[in-house]
Symmetry: C2
Amino acid sequence: MGIARAEGYELLALTFDYGQRHKIELESARKVAEHYGVKDHRVVKLDFLRDIGGSALTSDELSVPTEGLTDEIPITYVPGRNLLFLSIASSYAEVVDADAIFMGVNALDYSGYPDCRPEFIESVQTAIERGTKKGVEGHQTVIEIPLVHWTKAEIIRRGMELEVPYELTTSCYQGAAEACGTCDSCRLRLKGFAEAGYTDPIPYKSEEQ
Amino acid sequence: MGIARAEGYELLALTFDYGQRHKIELESARKVAEHYGVKDHRVVKLDFLRDIGGSALTSDELSVPTEGLTDEIPITYVPGRNLLFLSIASSYAEVVDADAIFMGVNALDYSGYPDCRPEFIESVQTAIERGTKKGVEGHQTVIEIPLVHWTKAEIIRRGMELEVPYELTTSCYQGAAEACGTCDSCRLRLKGFAEAGYTDPIPYKSEEQ
């Protein structure tokens, strides 16, 4: 959101309530949207992803791994999640005639989710161009993924330059008031702050940082 | 559903409650799913499409055209609808490990919706292959669109051969107990039955058929 603002866009925010374990991010999203004074902030309820399960992020029966990243796609992968998010964003973009959809996916310091990779985003871009009225009429909505090739350290550094309110954000998959520090998402975030030479302003359970 | 059954698939059905004017189709879907004895039938609630509007099918403020088809994409186009439907189907297909997603889009006797065209479906196929765990692991879910290049008459004829329960189906955009006979969807359906040489078994308001 900091990057889109810096590029001069008027901002509208979409947040997805998909039954995620870390529902606390909905409140963070509200605070960040308020911080940036977005024109509109919509929270889209997607009960279906929780209903069908198949991920440690949407099922109470599967645990979030805390042993660190592996070469496998982890159990925290949510089936088809980013395609669903982008579909909804594309419908919304068409109705409000938005020029761009900003998405913070990263395919470098990441968990290996296939739907965070640029080749996936490119194929969705093609689908939006071919499948929407706005697209076939030549007024494209462009999916912007500025963070995709950055290290987490580069992301943190750029955010610091842009005065991103990191204290309002959350990344932990466990969703407690204090971040766990051991899930993949915490590990990647902490690595980013450490390598960038900053201290993460959010509270952690123990002294992992 | 008749075609998928004839090809030997075990059937699971997805229906979308997206605030459509013709909500009556949800009941038809239930009856058709029951007729085919599907293993599971899920009705996915998508309030968001109604919330954002932008279509005569999801807004009470826009009327459904009754003057016949034109060269323009009509106001009944629902922004990004089929991308959203296919996204959800792809998430579900991944969790249940389905081999195929069947979709009844047609790009010949149709209303010019961009998201009914084969080139759009192909791009979604690519997105599913690149963006899902199932896809990158090489076990593709294939989007099957058997009707895409058929005339409505060919569709009706094939359905008759397969003993599709047309009396349980609905097409009218107005969503009343009796079909209007004048919206684009009724016109296309009636054209199909007429050219195929059959009588449509569902009730119509007047004698348009």
